[in-house]
Structure formats: C-alpha cells, structure tokens
C-alpha cells in the first residue's frame, strides 16, 4: 500500500470542532495557494467568510463552498479561528498554527537571525561598556554558517 500518511497530529483536546484527530497539519494546510491566500487576506484583520468568498471568487473564480471547505481545513489546522456574529462567521488568523511552522523553521539556521545577532552584539557591547572592561567572553557565537 503506497501513500503512507505519516502525519500524526496531536489531538490534545480539540473539543470545539469535534474532530477526534487533526485532519491536516499546518504545513499541509499552507501547501495550497488558495488557503495561503485566505490567510493573507486575514492578515489585514478579522473578516467575515463572505468577504473572503468575494475576494477569492474575484481572484480565482472559486465558488462559495470551495472557500468554506478551505476555511474548514485552515480551522482544523489551527491556522484560523471563527467567531459567530449573527449569521456571519468572522474569521481571523490564529497564531497557533503559524507557531507550528515557525517552530519547525527554527531548527535551521535562519539568515534573518542576523539582525538579532546584531542586537546581541550591541547588547554585548553595552554590557561590556557598562561593567567597564572585563574578561573577553565568547558571548554566544552560536552557529554561524558561512
């Protein structure tokens, strides 16, 4: 049998949606361009499903049910949250799912850490200057690849 689905997914008490196991991981959810676009649209702030439908219909000619299904996947992946207001469903970005991605990325040396390194260096200088000359510690050179 091919197609071994290795995705485990921690249930961890997802009671609201009523799904016993997480259908899809954050990466799988973000693997689709339409869903990525939805999250992008939500980056501007909380939005009703209808607005998202309109946007996607205009951009890609996608039907309302399709958008709704995508939103469900995003919801299951903890990438968005829903809030009912009357007959409307207000969606918003959920940090939880994005954290999963960020955490995964943290395993690798990130070039964006450079400004952080710069800050660390600055911090070190400040500390050094503050205490007026001390033993030259390596600080935390960490892994500087290349």
């Amino acid at each position: 049998m091919p197609r071994t689905s290795a995705a485990a997914g921690g249930a961890g008490g997802s009671r609201g949606e009523g799904s016993p196991t997480a259908r899809r991981g954050s990466f799988e959810a973000l693997g689709d361009p339409v869903r990525r676009r939805l999250v992008e649209l939500l980056a501007a702030g909380e939005q009703p499903a209808g607005a998202l439908v309109d946007a996607l219909q205009a951009e890609a000619g996608i039907s309302q049910p399709a958008v709704s299904q995508h939103l469900r996947v995003l919801r299951d992946a903890r990438l968005v949250t829903v809030r009912a207001e009357g007959t409307r469903r207000l969606y918003a970005v959920d940090a939880a799912g994005l954290d999963v991605v960020r955490l995964w990325l943290a395993r690798f040396a990130d070039p964006f850490a450079q400004p952080l390194d710069a800050l660390k260096t600055e911090l070190a200088r400040g500390r050094r200057a503050r205490r007026r000359g001390t033993s030259p510690r390596e600080e935390d050179a960490a892994d500087r690849a290349g």
Copy 2:
C-alpha cells in the same frame, strides 16, 4: 474548468538545474510530510542521497526513486542544494527556500518576537547606562504594529 493551476507547468527541463521558473513553491514542497522529513534529516548536515533513501526506507518504506523524486521537488523549490562527489550526490539545506517561508510568515505578528523585544529592552538599558544621559536617538524603532 475547475482546478486553476497557478503554477507554471513547463515541460522542458531535460537536464540542467537552471530552470527559468520554479516548478513548485516552497510551501507546496513543504506540504508533503516526506519532503519535510527529508529537510529535517538534512538539518543535521550535508548527506548523500543514499543515506536519505535508507532513512526514509526504514521509516516509511519508501523506494529509492520516490526519494529521488522528492529531492528533485525540494531542489526545484530551492529548499536543498546538491553537490556531486564522485557517484554520490550530497544534499544540503538551502536557505533560499526557507527564506521564502520565513518572509511570508513575517507578515503576521509572531509571538516569538518577544525575546527580540526583550533584547531591545536590554539593549536600551545598556545604551542608557553607557551614555549616562545623551541625546536620545530613535535608532531603528522599525515597524511595531501594536
């Protein structure tokens, strides 16, 4: 006509890594758990394709061609680089593809920014202590979206 494929479906690519357009995006590439695992394995450092094949075969019972195909996708997505050494192909993580993901994530408020804020605070304290009362330059407050 469903299924609007946003990706350019260029055939061409006989040989030569220099593809004009990326067949698949970084997110699409990372959407697959097997490919994510491959990148994870490469996080430990440069590895020959054979080692990756062995690992994936042991973990998920995946064949050598399957791994090779996955590596190609990762290569196209600039997530890994290859280096020929004799008959071996040494793969390594490529920052380029990961940058794309990180850059996309940067659009959203990241809770991991807190340690950076802490550093900034520390830095400010250090600077304050260092100058003992000087003209207050704004430095680079950057964009702090509240």
